[in-house]
Symmetry: C2
Subunit: 294 residues, 2 copies
Amino acid sequence: MSEFTAWVQGCQSRMEAVLAEVLPPVHIAPQRLHEAMRYAVLGGGKRVRPLLAFAAGEVTGASPERVQFAAAAVELIHAYSLVHDDMPAMDDDALRRGKPTVHVEFDEATALLVGDALQSLAFDALAAQPLANDPAAQLKMVHLLAQAAGSRGMAGGQAIDLASVGKSLDLAELEFMHIHKTGALIRASVLLGAHCGSPDEATLAALDHYAKCIGLAFQVVDDVLDAEAPTATLGKTAGKDAAHNKPTYVSLLGAAEARAFAHSLRKDALDALVPLPRVQRLRELADFVVERTF
Amino acid sequence: MSEFTAWVQGCQSRMEAVLAEVLPPVHIAPQRLHEAMRYAVLGGGKRVRPLLAFAAGEVTGASPERVQFAAAAVELIHAYSLVHDDMPAMDDDALRRGKPTVHVEFDEATALLVGDALQSLAFDALAAQPLANDPAAQLKMVHLLAQAAGSRGMAGGQAIDLASVGKSLDLAELEFMHIHKTGALIRASVLLGAHCGSPDEATLAALDHYAKCIGLAFQVVDDVLDAEAPTATLGKTAGKDAAHNKPTYVSLLGAAEARAFAHSLRKDALDALVPLPRVQRLRELADFVVERTF
């Protein structure tokens, strides 16, 4: 096992433990809601956003004991968005991370409330204890996450995505959608991790540029995998973009050019890291995002 | 017009202006989502939670220029909960504040995203600018709102409510549900307003006791009105609790005893205010909550 793989697994184990601690226990009422929240969050996922937060924290000298709660907050937002996206009113998907989706395993009303409560819990995790060198910086973190999750971030990206089904978007319009839908939260992961340490403005600007490139690369690779990988490997329904007649980087560029675009985004991301210290993990994550097969 | 009525209308006008400013404008993408968010929030509602925040702020010497953003945050959480509660997977209601509900006027997917984005916006409003004497107190406010909105607060109350349909709850179980469903956010309104000023622990404890009583009284009166008032007066579908076979204070106690219970809760609430300064508005609001007819 490579040293990077060991680091990834260490972060993933830490996240699982922190999320298990932050999520309400099942013996507290309302029990079925808490059971469904834990079902939605625990035991799966690559935890890419937390990995980015931990890696960005290394650049600014943040302690993992702080970063883990910022990472949990981002992951809870991500998890809530998956639960709501899978619902019949949205993507109507039955499979997620190799398991039945929340509205299938429980019911639609529970899925709705699970998503709602996970979003609240994300902000709870970000405000319940000191995570930054001063409380004003931590308030900035709350503001960053709220912007990234909201109508000018992830939720807005979902709305643009829904409105685009069956339409022919051009490359600029597709990028606009993804900058919101997945990019905003990936940027927030990196910036929140950095804010747990001692970032200066130049460092934040460089990290933000890295995060923008990686966020877009992540989505381009997602489109390639959706078009090419079998469902069993993905742990979610493959080929659903084409089935829903959604525009993707593959449908616009073809698979080969989409892959080349992802590689050029990785190069831009790595270039942004040049002036920064302790960037090994961020460099490795850039490779991981672009070369993954699941 | 009484002096109290003038104060109420002044607060309501201020809230309308602040909410209109905090909500994203419709000319920014995604336009349809922003249009639906504004539709869900603006131009209606008694703004009871903001009124409580402003009144509690008077006790602790908070400036209305700060309280208004804390009040907006609470009202945005309340508004998101109404949008999601009205959806077919939950209460399946077509009328709210005298207008078609969001999923009827727009569509289900939009209603889902409207609720999600309004919750993010609530935390945004609470973190975007200084609202307390120090940032640590403001972080406490974020924590309070997150707890009040989440699975051990409002969203949890919804889950308990759903699980109770068709069951015969006793009074303790009904109270447990309402302490979560409406009580948590009403307590948050009062405490957030107070945190914008200079509260001491004894003041917060007294205000919290007031808020618990008022929150429960509010729900008891809601049950009475739902059973007795015509739809046109309520601006939402009347009699729907009975139609859904939901346990209410009226079904458990009868209307007369339910009213008497509301009056005894008001007395408890007023008693809690005795040691505090500048409580006139809180006293008047206790009367308003118990004696309202809509």
